[in-house]
């Protein structure tokens, strides 16, 4: 294998794949990136056995062949080379080594045989549809903060993607929860997604996908089966296994009958929560919301730090109520809001509260109160 490639293009492609590679690996070849040179193109692949990204980039003077080289080392070398430099990659001679040359720099990297590289089987995936980059971003950004990190609840360690109906309109829904809060985002169901199974996309896949979208801003081709999902972007393809588990019946925990309605301006509310939470203890992050007709008093106390109180005007006509929330969870939600007003639907201080933008319920959040 031999080829010449422009530094910026190679760095971008390596950047797409290298973050999949874990820093510590018990299987040596998983620390490597697979390089395959074919007619005018270099394909780079990285995998952690659950998730695989393949990125392609144009190359010159290609002599066909393949090898695997240490991903992070190669990335660091290319990163440190001068901008605009041409890089020559040569793995033709000695089987166990690859040479990287640019200007007066020469690196020789130890390689492992490409035939040992564990690529995922290519097979056809039964369901396919296309989503705009903006929709994929929205589905991820408004839900991923709620993904559980608790390993024993592995079936919550991802985003549940499925087809559903809202007021009889078919929707594609993303749902994530850690048991303390739940986030649900929906977009109109794209063509081809109608018969898709509900799938749980693992957190790492979600994060890698989100990074790719930032860099390659174009429509995403999604195809999936009940064990695998693939996201295609033209010159990059991400394939991932799905979490093998049953997502809980989340609709059961979204309360429908909450009858205390609060509307508050999003930005001043978020700023007040942020200010008051300065006092709450690192571990609890609790803030108390005391509601009375027309006003909301936010407060926090901690034995070490003292107390904080702030009052803001709100639209509220219900009976007085005191309810506590984790300030971090409130801010995670307000961070995702673009509208001016946020609406809360509460029942009492111990029951789940529903939160959404006043004029838009495509993103819906459920928060479990804290004991304060």
């Amino acid at each position: 294998m031999k080829l010449t490639i422009e530094r910026t293009a190679l760095l971008r492609a390596l950047g797409h794949v290298q973050s999949v590679v874990e820093r510590r690996n018990t299987i040596p070849i998983l620390s490597n990136v697979l390089l395959r040179a074919e007619s005018g193109e270099l394909a780079l692949s990285a995998t952690d056995m659950d998730l695989e990204i393949v990125a392609s980039v144009a190359a010159q003077g290609v002599r066909k062949g393949s090898t695997t080289a240490p991903a992070h080392t190669l990335y660091d070398i290319v990163r440190k080379l001068r901008e605009g430099a041409q890089i020559e990659i040569d793995a033709a001679g000695d089987k166990g080594a690859m040479t990287v040359r640019s200007g007066r720099s020469t690196f020789t990297l130890a390689c492992l045989p490409p035939e040992d590289y564990p690529l995922m089987a290519d097979g056809e995936l039964a369901h396919g549809f296309t989503l705009s980059a903006a929709d994929v971003k929205r589905l991820i950004d408004r839900t991923r903060f709620a993904i559980s990190t608790e390993e024993t609840r592995y079936y919550l360690n991802g985003i549940f993607l499925h087809a559903a109906k809202s007021n009889d309109v078919p929707m594609l829904r993303a749902v994530a929860t850690d048991g303390h809060r739940l986030a649900r985002m929906e977009v109109p169901l794209p063509e081809g997604a109608a018969g898709m199974p509900g799938v749980i996309v693992p957190r790492k896949t979600v994060n890698e996908l989100r990074k790719l979208i930032d860099e390659i801003d174009q429509d995403v081709q999604i195809s999936l089966s009940d064990t695998k999902i693939r996201f295609g972007f033209g010159n990059a393809v991400l394939t991932s296994k799905l979490i093998d588990g049953t997502f809980p019946d989340y609709e059961r925990v979204i309360p429908a009958g909450n009858d205390r309605f609060l509307e508050v301006e999003c930005k001043p509310f978020a700023e007040a929560v942020d200010r008051v939470s300065t006092i709450s203890t690192e571990k609890s992050r609790a803030v108390k919301l005391a509601l009375e007709r027309g006003s909301l008093t936010l407060s926090a106390t901690s034995p070490e730090n003292g107390t904080a109180v702030e009052e803001i005007e709100v639209r509220y006509n219900g009976p007085s109520i005191e309810i506590g929330f984790n300030s971090r969870y409130l801010l995670d939600i307000t961070d995702q809001m673009s509208g001016e007003w946020v609406a809360f639907q509460m029942a009492d201080a111990a029951s789940p509260t529903v939160v959404h933008e006043r004029a838009d319920t495509s993103a819906l959040y459920v928060l479990m109160p804290m004991r304060v």
Binding site: T152, R153, Y155, G179, H180, L182, S284, A350, V366
Partner: protein, 423 residues
């Protein structure tokens, strides 16, 4: 010989004739040669949870009362009437009820006990700033130098404090007075309930001599057995060995053995001593290598750790699994929890993956589990959107374990009486 009346706090130079206080006629006198010079105390409330419940339900005053049950199914506390039937704390509930079928069982109200415990602590802190709480209902107090403030020796101040706790809070406490923590803690247990025991320099050595080495803090069943094999079962026998010899043979604890055996303990009363971790461990009679055998030992330890956490009013935000190999290498593995917990089941589920990773066929002689990064009890086990049906959650957890370890890895079990002394 100084004598002190525990009811009216009158002091006398000698025990009055007839054994009654010359001022108020009370028989509750305590007399000791060093009474006026000792100032280190351990105060321990009597059958605390049960006493609080009796205070709030006077009609139960002479009934056997057990606090416990709920999800854990063990006795958390029992009153002295219940103890007459042989009931002890940490006993499985079914066993306790067999021993005393007419016992009144009360579900624990930890928030209430913590509030009462706080009130007791405030009275202690009003007496001396040097209060080191050990749990919700017991603490060490150093009263050295408070004689002038309180207008009398520490013993008198303590009698007044105990009286105040009884009158203002409505529970009784027992006091152990000595010259260090080790002996004060032993003393508070000698005269329970509503007791006042003194261990002075004059008799401490004689008092300790015939006692079992198990009295020393840190000497569990395993070390006790080992000492017995080496011909040491009483503290007097321990005293015949030098500190050097004990350290060489038993490691770091040898120093404590040597010092405590001679009634020496230089640990100060530290009011800021943060409770950093709580742990329990057990040494096996025979080394265990198999995962299921180790897991079987771990389960009752988790129950016992959960109990300790609840009593201390703390919650574990991380767990540490400790294993000691047959050749005494210590392994410890930690893991953070998604939320602080006081539940045995959650502790067990968090520790099991650590155990699975460590159980590689090595034979272990000891297993322990510790709660780290302690948080306030109020943060423990926050309400969960999907926890409405605990059975479903339990089943999901069991399913996850079976997926990883095979069908036989987890099964429904009972806590057997033999496992009770695990810690």
């Amino acid at each position: 010989m100084t004598a002190l009346c525990r009811d009216c706090a009158a002091l006398a130079a000698a025990l009055p004739a007839g054994g009654r206080c010359a001022q108020c006629g009370s028989p509750r006198l305590v007399a000791h040669a060093e009474l006026a010079s000792l100032s280190l105390a351990h105060i321990d409330c009597d059958a605390f949870y049960a006493s609080v419940e009796k205070r709030d339900h006077p009609e139960l005053l002479d009934r056997p009362v057990i606090v416990g049950g709920g999800t854990r199914g063990v006795v958390l506390a029992c009153c002295y009437v219940a103890r007459l039937s042989g009931i002890r704390s940490a006993m499985p509930m079914f066993k306790a009820l067999k021993a005393c079928p007419d016992a009144v069982v009360i579900r624990p109200d930890m928030a209430k006990y913590r509030a009462v415990g706080r009130a007791v602590r405030e009275l202690m802190q009003a007496t001396t700033p040097l209060v080191q709480p050990l749990s919700v209902d017991e603490a060490f107090l150093d009263l050295a130098g408070t004689e002038r403030v309180h207008g009398g020796p520490a013993a008198r101040t303590l009698a007044l404090l105990a009286r105040r706790i009884e009158r203002e809070i409505g529970v009784t406490a027992s006091i152990g007075l000595s010259y260090n923590k080790f002996l004060a803690k032993i003393a508070s247990d000698l005269d329970k309930p509503r007791g006042f025991a003194v261990l002075g320099r004059g008799e401490a050595m004689d008092f300790l001599a015939p006692r079992s080495v198990g009295l020393i803090w840190g000497v569990g069943a395993a070390l006790q057995q080992k000492l017995a094999r080496d011909g040491i079962s009483t503290i007097a026998e321990l005293r015949q060995r030098s500190e050097h010899e004990l350290t060489a043979r038993y490691g770091a604890i040898g120093r404590r053995l040597a010092r405590f055996a001679r009634g020496e303990d230089d640990r100060p009363v530290d009011p800021d001593a943060p409770m950093k971790s709580i742990s329990v461990e057990t040494t096996f009679t025979r080394d265990i290598a198999r995962l299921d055998g180790l897991a079987e030992q771990l389960q009752p330890l988790c129950a016992s750790l959960a109990l300790r956490l609840e009593r201390a009013g703390r919650a574990a935000a991380a767990v540490t699994l400790k294993l000691k190999t047959g050749d005494f290498r210590v392994l410890s593995r930690s893991r953070q929890l998604a939320d602080p917990t006081q539940r045995a089941e959650t502790l067990y589920r968090a520790a099991l993956p650590l155990l699975r990773a460590a159980a590689d066929g090595t034979a272990f002689r000891l297993i322990g589990i510790g709660a780290d990064r302690l948080a306030e009890a109020a943060l423990a086990d926050p309400p969960d959107l999907f926890a409405a049906d605990p059975g479903a959650r339990l089943a999901a957890g069991a399913e996850a374990v079976r997926r990883r370890l095979g069908a036989g890895a987890i099964r429904r079990g009972v806590i057997r009486a033999e496992d009770d002394d695990a810690d």
